[in-house]
Amino acid sequence: MSAETTAATSRRPPLWRDVRVLAWAFQLGVAAVVVAVVWYLVRNYIDNTEARGLSRDFTSWLDQPAGFPIPDSDFRQSQPNRDAIIEGFFNTLRLSITGIVLATVLGTVIGVGRLSQNFIIRTSTRAYVEFVRNVPLLALVFLAFSAIVLNAFPAPNDSWELGPIAVFNVRGSSVFWFEGENWKALVVLLAALIVMFVVARWRRAVFDRTGTPARTALWAIPIGLAVAVVVWILLGLGVTAPTRDGTRVTGGIRMTPSYFAALIALVVYTSSHIAEIVRASIQAVPRGQSEAADALALSPFQRLWYVVLPQAMRIGVPPIGNQFLNLTKNSSLALVISFPELTKVTQLATASRAPSVPAYTLLLLIYLAISLALSLIVNIVNRRLAIVER
């Protein structure tokens, strides 16, 4: 009996019922369809470009003169397309990084505000989030540009001035900034970060060895700031503050109206999403954790800093990283108000002389590279924060 069943089951089924055969046949079919579609598209592309006499060269257009100017920059239209793309890339990067920093700060403040015990704070932050989250970003961009920056900002001779910190008017806004080469500023930033990192590790080592409270932030931040100031002076960097003389604003770093409007819209929109993530991740920490902290007689600050926040971060970091990615991709919307970021520059290039397929392929690759780089950073941070399980 048992020998019979073994014999029966070990016999291979006919080909059309063999799972292994079917699986491979199915996969071959899928692959064949994909290849056929791609081949069809490429065939059409070759036919179309030949019929219209278009270039299929994927790189030479980069060295040809661009033939279009980029306003508010050093770029001249006799320069090659390559320089235009690089200019656009740095504009995208500048907008995204500034936006990420500001949106994180604003989003965290609003997210914590949503959990406030104060009725007014709780309600007003909720109204902000519920309004901004449910409105198209494109409408915010247009509103910030044409209704706020171009319409509500004052004329140059009537600018809003915040002492030496910032000057706002309809032609652009200027804020104080460092003066000198960019690499020197980068060195200052890196030096401060490295020193803070080293101090933090040292404090943790001291805590592990002796048990004296680490007080990492209390040590690292002042020391890091002091080092930054010293390096700043040693490298001979200066500070430039905006000053107004009649209608002219000199000094500081200038933000064009389109840049400023895009920044406002991106920060407002993304901050509402980050606020929701911050709120949800703090609420996701089990109540028992706070109660246990109270039972150990931790102060409210200690409870937040050592117990709730580390666990909330673990929950909140991946979705906040996604918001950073979204903000970077959404920065392409700045093209509707003619801010010369990557997509706008590509659009201008293809409108003048560059062949559209190579130019847009490059654009896709650059965005993919930015996305991959950002998600790599998020993954590394996430792995460092993740719980170490058995």
Binding site: A23, F26, Q27, L28, V30, A31, V34, L41, V42, N44, Y45, D47, N48, T49, A51, L54, Q117, N118, F119, I120, I121, S124, E130, F131, R133, N134, V135, P136, L137, L138, A139, L140, F142, L143, S146, A147, I148, N151, K329, N330, S332, L333, L335, V336, T343, Q347, T350, S356, V357, Y360, L363, L364, Y367, L368, S371, L372
Partner: protein
């Protein structure tokens, strides 16, 4: 039951003084506004700021805002250049949709009654109170429609709203009378009805000529209907054991998630014709917009569904196999219903994003959606150069806000109904 041993020391304690009542306006004020001195200062400062903003906002709404531009262009905002003689078709279509939603709502109540999963507030509620509760739940929709109707100068929109409400109520009354096994039939009616409505609406004006918020709504409905099945397939493909299918799905999802939607739309607008046979007529801008948005959103839906699939314990699949279900039946009867239930809010969130993103599609494809109308209206000779952009954009934002808030509130309600996270 044993009684606790009496302790002499306990007996001599005086009775506790009565606690002050914890409910009452003074106590509420103390707990929510004046917990401590610092809290009091925050309350006063924030209260002043909020009061000022509210004052400015209300003044803008009723005094300083120049809403004439909206009143004059209201029809353009809502239905664009749809032929004026044929507007009744839109009214009929909206009433049909409202009636269908009413039927589904009523049917859902009946299903819950039959299966014994009724909500406490549904049992023995008088009709009038139920209607009021529905209106209260949908307050953004009610307030929004009231704001829009306050600018109406003709009778048509009033008749339309009356027809929508009437059709909704009639549908809600018919719904519970349907046989309990009508789910599939209702789904079929939705699909067939969607096609029929499209034919009905596009008879006097081609879809590619639509404009106003009507275009946004159409793009959103078409995109939502198409992206969900594609996203589902991609999610299953990404978890497939077949390497070719899995890697193709991963490639698709990662590429489409790594690229801005606006770039995809530009590709569909500028580059796509080069990849299609030159002899054929190119697909219309509306078609291309729908395709680009569908491909983009499907990648996000796939990742959300994958999250839902991963949250499901292995035991579910194993139990289904143990019962002798085939892999296909296991997937569609056991795995997907539970996995999708867990990710409803995220999926609806993605649909809301898609609705908002229809503005990008219109902008990239040079279509005149509601935002396009907002821009065009400010350059009409009557309103040009008066700085009315704030008014028009605010109105478009209101339109989108109504739609998005209603969707997200209803999804939260659905989530509670299905008992996500409560079991």
């Amino acid at each position: 039951m044993e009684t606790l041993p009496t302790d002499a020391a306990l007996e001599v304690l005086p009775p506790e003084p009565a606690r002050p009542p914890t409910a009452g306006p003074r106590d509420w004020l103390r707990r929510n506004l004046f917990r401590s001195v610092g809290d009091g200062i925050v309350t006063v400062v924030a209260g002043l700021i909020v009061a000022y903003l509210l004052y400015r906002g209300i003044r803008y709404l009723f005094v300083t805002g120049r809403w004439e531009i909206i009143r004059v262009n209201l029809r353009l905002f809502m239905v664009g250049r749809y032929p004026a003689d044929e507007l009744w078709r839109i009214s009929v279509a909206l009433a049909a949709i409202a009636g269908y939603i009413g039927v589904v709502a009523g049917f859902a109540v009946k299903r819950r009654r039959v299966t014994g999963r009724q909500l406490p507030e549904e049992v023995d509620q008088p009709r009038a109170r139920a209607l009021l509760a529905t209106a209260g739940r949908l307050w953004p929709l009610v307030v929004g429609i009231a704001l829009i109707m306050s600018m109406v100068t003709t009778a048509g929109p009033w008749l339309t709203v009356a027809g929508i409400v009437a059709a909704g109520i009639v549908g809600r009354l018919i719904g519970p009378r349907l046989p309990a096994r009508s789910t599939l039939a209702l789904l079929l009616v939705a699909l067939v009805g969607f096609g029929a409505l499209l034919l009905f609406l596009s008879a006097p004006a081609e879809i590619s000529t639509w404009s106003g918020i009507m275009l946004n709504v159409f793009l959103a409905i078409a995109g939502i209907t198409l992206c969900f099945p594609l996203g589902l397939l991609l999610a299953l493909g990404r978890r497939s054991r077949l390497p070719v299918v899995r890697w193709l799905s991963i490639l698709y999802i990662e590429v489409f998630r790594g690229v801005p939607l606006y770039v995809l739309l530009l590709l569909a607008y500028v580059v796509l014709p080069l990849f299609l046979p030159s002899s054929d007529a190119n697909p219309s801008s509306v078609t291309r917009a729908i395709v680009a948005m569908t491909l983009f959103t499907a990648a996000y839906i796939a990742e959300i569904v994958r999250g839902g699939l991963q949250s499901l314990p292995r035991g579910q699949t194993e139990a289904a196999y143990a019962l002798g279900l085939s892999p296909v039946r296991t997937t569609f009867w056991i795995v997907l219903p539970q996995a999708l239930r867990n990710v409803i809010p995220a999926i609806v969130g993605q649909f809301i994003s898609l609705f908002k993103d229809t503005t990008l599609a219109a902008s990239a494809m040079s279509l005149i959606d509601a935002l396009g109308v907002a821009e065009a209206a400010t350059s009409q000779s009557r309103f040009q150069g008066q700085g009315l952009t704030a008014e028009t954009y605010a109105f478009v934002m209101l339109l989108f806000w109504i739609g998005c808030v209603t969707m997200s509130r209803e999804s939260q309600r659905l989530e509670r109904r299905l008992g996500v996270g409560t079991r």
